[in-house]
């Protein structure tokens, strides 16, 4: 089947439902296909997509003078369709996607808080990203936004009045947790309802690390945007910077040299290995198996030190630039990297073999925190959360971008969906990344590290799609006529895995929450923005 073979079916369905596609473009936001529709058809277009089981993967708005453009991204068979509509900035009302796609709930509430969009038939109108730092009637991403003078000086009050859902019944009790958690982790609030040890429900309240990234990006140049994108979620700095680079390069039509793309791939896989190592150890430690934590954190530290030696930064920050990369590898470094890979392969083979042979670990991780494949599918989970629950989608194979286009990545998919499956999947991904990086080092082509970055002469826009260690990242960028950023929206995979965690913990015991949470490891910063 070729690319977009399925699109004609969707278009036919839309026509049957009298949804008028005003304009379609395969170029504007390539590789995605844009369909412009009327605001009144917004809900029906989503409904048809949901009937055809397309994956809903993001929503963002963008103010254009008197209008707000609204975009929603859908995926099927590795191809992306972007629905676009426009609403009046004074009456920004449109139907909701939530009736067809419940996962659209938080993204729509984010758009409501940031831009003032009103989703007329949404079942959930509560604030999401906004707490009490700015008034309900003002929207940070509108051009006319300003903080009232008296609000600037006072501490923003806690959002104590947030309307959580309540469950009543004999023996039901609430456990509020956070925003400041017991460990060295990011802040967020979890509201549990439990009976005895068993969790009845979990409701998350995020937004605590909202630092205005979308607004802060505006007015920056391309290089500054990529640096900022590298801090959307610090553990995914390469992947987010790469997605921003992709969108910028597509916007201005900049061709990146093969060697630079290969080095980006190498850095991104190094980031994957580092995070997987750290998390496998931390998951085992959450059930009291400290041996794994110390062994994995030792391997991770070795890996990060090599990052520092070879690339000048332990976490690989600021190594991607618009049009290329800031670092190169000489022959000696390549050889030493291959030795690293071999050593880590031997070490992990030995270590993972020990871990998977421990009855005490098996007892705690098997059948704990199960995400059923149907739920993972409905929520549009990607990354290890989706792949451990039967969702094979992985951009590196489903819609391979350079360098994965010419050097395929053999991706992994498991079916069990429990904590153990998520651990095993990540163990296997480490092995495959190591093999892939070895192949890449052999295939490294000579070439330019960075093409000359020329700011555009006219307004332009682009979309980036990158598979981070955590899953699919989608980044939208619009530049103004001067080449400055007018809109930046990075969609971290955590938007889809946080809601999955709410499902995962149901029926588990309260003491297993940390291990369930760690096995999902959503980014707070990446979704709070």
């Amino acid at each position: 089947m070729g690319r977009f073979d399925w699109l004609s079916e969707y278009l036919a369905q839309l026509e049957d439902e009298h949804v008028l596609v005003r304009r379609g473009s395969a170029q504007r936001l390539a590789p995605a296909h844009v369909l412009e529709i009327d605001a009144e058809d917004w809900g029906r277009a989503a409904r048809q997509a949901s009937l055809l089981e397309y994956r809903w993967c993001g929503l963002w708005g963008d103010e254009h003078e008197a209008h707000i453009r609204v975009y929603a991204c859908l995926e099927h068979a590795g191809d992306y369709v972007v629905l676009q509509t426009a609403v009046d900035a004074d009456t920004p009302v449109l139907p909701s996607h939530v009736p067809s796609y419940p996962i659209a709930d938080r993204p729509e509430r984010h758009a409501q808080d940031m831009l003032g969009l009103v989703f007329s038939d949404s079942p959930d109108e509560r604030r999401w990203t906004r707490h009490q730092a700015w008034p309900e009637s003002s929207y940070p991403l509108r051009a006319d936004f300003h903080l009232p003078a008296d609000q600037g000086g006072q501490p923003a009050p806690a959002d104590g009045g947030y309307p959580f859902q309540h469950i009543k019944g004999e023996g039901v009790y609430e456990i509020p947790v956070g925003p400041v958690h017991a460990g060295i982790i990011e802040p967020g609030h979890f509201r549990f309802h439990a009976v005895g040890e068993e969790i009845l429900s979990l409701e998350q309240r995020l937004g605590y690390v909202h630092k205005g990234i979308e607004k802060a990006a505006q007015g920056r140049d391309a290089a500054a945007l990529v640096r900022l994108a590298g801090r959307v979620s610090g553990d995914s700095t390469v992947a987010h910077a790469w997605a921003a680079c992709q969108s910028l390069e597509r916007a201005v039509g900049c061709r990146v040299d093969r060697r630079a793309q290969q080095l980006r791939g190498l850095l991104c896989e190094r980031e994957r290995v580092a995070n997987h190592l750290g998390d496998i150890g931390a998951i085992c430690n959450d059930v009291g198996f400290a041996f794994a934590l110390y062994q994995c954190s030792r391997l991770r530290e070795n890996w990060l030190r090599r990052n520092q030696e070879l690339f000048g930064h332990r976490l690989l920050m600021d190594l991607l630039l618009p049009g290329g990369v800031a670092v190169d590898l000489d022959t000696r470094a390549r050889e030493s990297l291959k030795q690293d890979h071999q050593r880590l392969m031997e070490e992990t083979n030995e270590l993972f073999d020990i871990l998977l042979d421990q009855p005490s670990l098996e007892d705690r991780l098997l059948n704990t925190g199960v995400l059923r494949p149907a739920t993972a599918r409905a929520l549009g989970c990607t990354g290890y959360v989706g792949k451990a629950s039967g969702q094979a989608f992985d951009l590196r194979a489903s819609n391979p971008y350079p360098p994965y286009d010419r050097q395929p990545m053999k991706t992994v998919c498991l079916a069990d969906g429990d904590v153990m499956a998520r651990v095993q999947l990540r163990m296997e991904e480490i092995r495959r990344s190591l093999e892939w990086m070895d192949e890449l080092l052999d295939a490294l082509e000579p070439g330019e590290l960075q093409c000359r970055w020329q700011p555009p002469q006219a307004p332009c826009e682009g979309l980036g799609f990158v598979e981070s260690w955590r899953g699919e990242i989608i980044t939208y960028v619009r530049l103004d006529a001067g080449g400055k950023v007018a809109r930046f929206f990075p969609r971290d995979p955590s938007w889809h895995t946080w809601p999955a965690l709410e499902r995962i913990v149901m029926g588990n015991i309260v003491p297993d929450f940390p291990v369930c949470n760690k096995s999902v490891n959503g980014s707070y910063s990446g979704q709070d923005l």
């Binding site: 009490q132 806690a158 959002d159 060295i184 630092k211 205005g212 610090g234 110390y294 954190s297 910063s525």
Partner: protein, 172 residues
Amino acid sequence: MYRILRKTLKTGVLTEKAPTSSDAALEALGIEVKRLVDKRFNGSLAIREVDAGSCNACELEIHALNNPYYDVERFGIHFVASPRHADILLVTGPVSRHMETALLRTWEATPAPKWVIACGDCACDGGLFGRDNYATRGGVEAVLPVDLYIPGCPPAPVELMMGLLNLFNAAD
């Protein structure tokens, strides 16, 4: 069990010697040594880490302090779950306004005498997120009195250790 022991023995002790803190480094870290005299910590320094809007990179490096290479517990430095047990608040992030009250409450819950360390560029001056931002305070000092700044994006474990060790040595 045999395999775990064998692997542990084969791995051996990795913990490295503590970095020595030179006078220049002390100065660069801007530590207010004089405030930390008289063996106040009595051999045990308890730290409560607070993420006030970080991108999580600082947290990754703070975590690394507990890996077998750095192992800061051997200096009597440990991370505690409650601010009520803490001598020091190690604050990361530009202080998002949504975390402002939580940070203040954490500080109030920490018994005096207490010290605040601004960890990372964002905590020092807002970093890449800037000072002119509706959603942040542009640094910890806008909210709390800061005793020590540890710049870096993120500061590496050795840089964190230099800062912490300086506090520790100064108090000894």
